[in-house]
């Protein structure tokens, strides 16, 4: 047995433990429950609540299990008379100032204090004096406070210090006057702040939009997957009588650990937005009228048949990258069946010139969890905290563990760790700046770059920052280039991506993509692309990309789950094209004036919360989920609508009974063929400076998709306010 292992005894049972482990980790692993409040696996040890006291042989006093390292031969008793009396005494002290307001507390039924009070509390209080009262704090639109309930475990404080890196809450005052708060009134603004709601073991910090909405025991928890970014955080939706009341994290060490972003937690409000489309609508003689489902599907069928009868090219299909894999596969099948290859999900992309070099799927190229152990990362064109907060958190972990992290960005975003290099790359000179890093890498690694770009590199200036950015990748053996959404939306995207690929090659770094939407990888697998079918199979006859099918207007459009005035690179172009079209069919959960103006048929679509489906994240994990909430109004699940439409259009083999049959069919079509996530780019590039003056490449965090845009609480956050004003961010 190695020196690192010690033998101890827990309640008479011999167990082994790793040297230096705290007792509570060992008891947890052996399913011996020790009560606790301040201890949390993901946070540092504070040992300030004293609830975890246990008896240790030969120790004169009970010891806190969370802060007592194991020692060989230790005999621990977690349920002995001494241990229990210590735990009960702690509980009595904790309850002295805790209000007895469980009946009106949202935490009731899921409160660690309440649970432990059942186990360790006395039924009658011996304390007859006045309880202390603490004024509530206003922490902004997401987190409600009832500070009298706080037991000063400081989990929320440590979360700020350790997880987000920006301490927003602190312990103000001392002894019986101590309060958790911000001292000067301000909101908690970090994009992961909502997690303090789950961390708080009592009802002091709670979910503000959900306040007084339901009781924990009335709701059913259903597993969900984040619909807003490519990480695919695991969630639970808590449902009461078919209605989604709140969203909480579902632990998944491989993806989101135990955290979720505020966007994932609070966006569900958008599901119940007032502008939900409640029934199919058809425009007849410029007048909108409600239609039955049968009528509506017939109308869609007829519009497609007549509009597309002569040539498939007349149809353009734009699909949200947040659509499910099932919806995407069916859309792909329907469009191809009608002879159209004009199919795209890359709605905010502006440069498709090198799309033939796209990887089969835009993936990270490694498991998400391995970001933690990288030692060199260069972020290229990404406001990472806003784009994929969970990946940004992983990156911060890596940086704190010693990784060199650098950025090539148009703006110096705040990351709360020290960056190893920041290459200031204004949008109009972005490619040139990145080329500087590539040239520096060629210089340090003394490697020749491919001929097509060597000429270009000869002209770029290599400065010290470029060199240090290149060194981050070349001098570390586990290095990654994180290619973000600002770069992907850039008008010079092809050149930028080619440069990133060359940089990866030169330095031996992995090139990982952070595509927009929850299911961009799924869209590639399902063939929502104009030039490729399912599984990345190159098409002989290529269609028009998202921009192309708007620039040369089609006569029929199908828009799926996206809003033409918010989800496209060029909304003005879309408006023109859609107005000129004969028929525009929108599958949308929402109805807005601009949809009414531009479309002819509106089909009410179930949102992510109301449909079964699958999202494929950037590590290639297929994550399937069932419908969480009941459909609003007369909306239907997307895959069902499309299946019926497929039948109407006589699409062969389209009798799927449930969503998983659809994804199984896709999986069968993909076969076991390896998916290649490498870029095959060989295209020549040019570094002409681009006119980017009016472009928003950094799409605000809470404007990224139609559901988030309708999340009321999110829209009243500081993050939303700052991005509306276009100001800088904290």
């Amino acid at each position: 047995m190695s020196d690192d292992i010690v033998n101890i005894e827990i309640n008479g049972q011999p167990v082994t433990a790793k040297k230096g482990q705290m007792l509570i980790e060992v008891t947890d692993r052996h399913e011996t429950y020790v009560p606790r409040f301040c201890y949390h696996e993901k946070l540092s040890i504070a040992a300030n609540c004293r609830m975890c006291l246990v008896e240790v042989e030969k120790a004169p006093k009970p010891l806190p299990a969370c802060a007592t390292p194991v020692m060989d031969g230790m005999k621990v008793f977690t349920r002995s008379a001494a241990a229990i009396s210590a735990q009960k005494a702690t509980m009595e002290f904790l309850l002295i100032n805790h209000p007895l307001d469980c009946p009106i507390c949202d935490q009731g039924g899921e409160c660690e204090l309440q649970d432990l009070a059942m186990g360790f509390g006395r039924d009658v209080s011996r304390y007859n004096d006045r309880k202390r009262v603490v004024k509530d704090k206003n922490l902004g639109p997401l987190v409600s406070t009832d500070m009298t309930r706080c037991i000063h475990c400081t989990r929320c404080v440590r979360f700020g210090q350790e997880i987000t890196g920006i301490q927003e809450l602190g312990t103000v005052g001392r002894s019986d006057q101590v309060e958790i708060g911000t001292y000067i009134e301000r909101s908690v603004d970090h994009e992961l702040s909502g997690n303090i709601i789950d961390l708080c073991p009592v009802g002091a910090l709670n979910n503000k939009p959900y306040r007084f909405g339901a009781r924990a025991w009335e709701m059913v928890a259903k597993p969900m997957v984040s619909p807003h970014d490519c990480a695919g955080s695991n969630l639970f939706g808590h449902v009461l009588r078919g209605k989604l009341k709140r969203v909480v994290p579902q632990d998944n060490e491989a993806i989101n650990e135990t955290w979720i972003s505020d966007r994932d937690r609070f966006s569900y409000e958008g599901v119940y937005s007032e502008d939900r489309l409640m029934a199919p609508l058809i425009k007849v003689d410029q007048e909108w009228r409600e239609a039955s489902w049968a009528e509506a599907i017939e109308a869609v069928r007829d519009s497609l048949r007549t509009g597309v009868s002569h040539e498939g090219d007349a149809l353009g299909v734009l699909v949200s990258p947040n659509a499910t894999l099932e919806e995407m596969y069916l859309l792909n099948r329907i469009a191809r069946h009608l002879g159209s290859q004009n199919l795209d999900h890359r709605l905010r992309r502006r440069d498709f010139s090198d799309q033939s070099s796209d990887p089969d799927v835009p993936s990270l190229g490694m498991p998400i969890a391995s970001i933690d152990s990288l030692n060199g990362v260069l972020v290229v064109g990404s406001n990472l905290r806003r784009e994929v907060p969970i990946i940004a958190h992983r990156l911060r972990k890596a940086a704190l563990a010693g990784a060199d992290v650098g950025f090539v960005n148009p703006e110096e975003y705040e990351y709360h760790f020290a960056s190893a290099a920041y290459v200031d790359a204004p949008l109009d000179r972005f490619a040139e700046k990145l080329a500087g890093v590539v040239a520096a890498a060629a210089e340090t690694t003394k490697t020749n770059v491919p001929g097509s770009i060597s000429k270009i590199l000869a002209d770029v200036k290599v400065d010290e920052t470029a060199r240090s950015a290149a060194r981050i990748l070349s001098e570390n053996d586990r290095s990654l280039i994180l290619f973000g959404q600002i770069a992907a939306r850039h008008p010079n995207f092809s050149a930028i991506r080619r440069l990133a690929a060359v940089l990866a090659e030169l330095t031996g770094a992995q090139l990982g993509f952070l595509p927009e939407g929850a299911n961009a990888v799924g869209a590639h697998l399902a063939g929502i692309l104009p030039h490729r079918g399912p599984g990345g199979v190159e098409l002989e006859e290529q269609g028009r990309d998202a921009l192309g099918m708007l620039a040369s207007p089609r006569s029929v459009y199908m828009l799926f789950g996206m809003e033409p005035d918010g989800d496209l690179a060029d909304c003005a172009l879309a408006e023109q094209a859609l107005k000129a079209a004969d028929k525009v069919i929108c599958f949308s959960p929402f109805v807005t004036q601009s949809l009414l103006d531009c479309s002819d048929i509106l089909i009410p679509l179930g949102t992510y919360a109301e449909t079964a489906g699958t999202f494929v994240n950037i590590e290639g994990a297929w994550q399937s989920f069932d419908a969480t909430a009941s459909l609003v109004g007369d909306a239907r699940e997307g895959w069902r609508i499309l299946r019926v439409l497929g039948n109407e259009l006589e699409l062969p083999e389209c009798d799927y009974q449930n969503a998983s049959e659809v994804s199984d069919a896709l999986a069968a079509e993909l076969g076991s063929g390896a998916i290649d996530s490498a870029l095959s780019s060989r295209a020549g590039i040019s570094l002409q400076s681009t006119d980017v003056a009016d472009l928003t490449l950094d799409v605000p965090m809470y404007a990224i998709d139609s559901v988030v845009r309708r999340g009321k609480a999110l829209q009243s956050t500081q993050i939303a306010a700052e991005t509306r004003e276009g100001g800088s961010e904290a």
Partner: protein, 162 residues
């Protein structure tokens, strides 16, 4: 930038404290920094000054607020210009600190923790043992100890203040 609130002297003082702690432990210099700042600001701290200290030390503001509200020697509201702290801990209490407090409160017409309306005297709220038990009861006036107090002695000390 809010650092502008700090005088040249205060900055030197803060640098002196920072130098005393190992690298990366400059959070420990908050106490010294706040003392220097408070001294220059008529005995109390303002949010602007605390923010300036946070900015100067490159720490989250809340960490400075935490220290300022924790230690009894820091005041976060305006106070009288002379700070009078009467020890009320055990030795002083046994030797009659209660009468001293009563005398003071009557003399100035204010309670512990309050300042006189003319801004002259501030009676510090509850002071713990100041380590002068052998001269109990005692009080501290503007950092100077006065021991073996009687009401007459208190008057004599305080009446000479400007």
């Amino acid at each position: 930038m809010s650092i502008g609130w700090l005088s040249e002297h205060v900055r030197e003082e803060i640098d002196h404290w920072v130098a005393k702690f190992p690298d990366g432990r400059h959070r420990s210099a908050i106490i010294g920094a706040l003392q220097a700042v408070q001294h220059e600001n008529k005995g109390y701290l303002t949010p602007e000054l605390m923010d300036a200290v946070a900015a100067y030390l490159d720490l989250p503001k809340i960490q400075v607020y935490e220290v300022a509200t924790f230690y009894s020697m820091f005041e976060t509201e305006p106070v009288g210009r002379h700070c009078v702290s009467v020890c009320t801990n055990i030795s002083c209490m046994l030797r009659g600190s209660d009468e001293i407090v009563e005398h003071l409160e009557r003399k100035f017409g204010i309670k512990l923790g309050e300042s006189t309306p003319d801004g002259k005297i501030f009676l510090k709220r509850e002071e713990e043992c100041l380590a002068a038990c052998c001269g109990a009861p005692m009080m501290m006036v503007d950092h100077i100890y006065h021991e073996n107090l009687t009401p007459e002695k208190v008057d004599k000390v305080l009446d000479t203040l400007d």
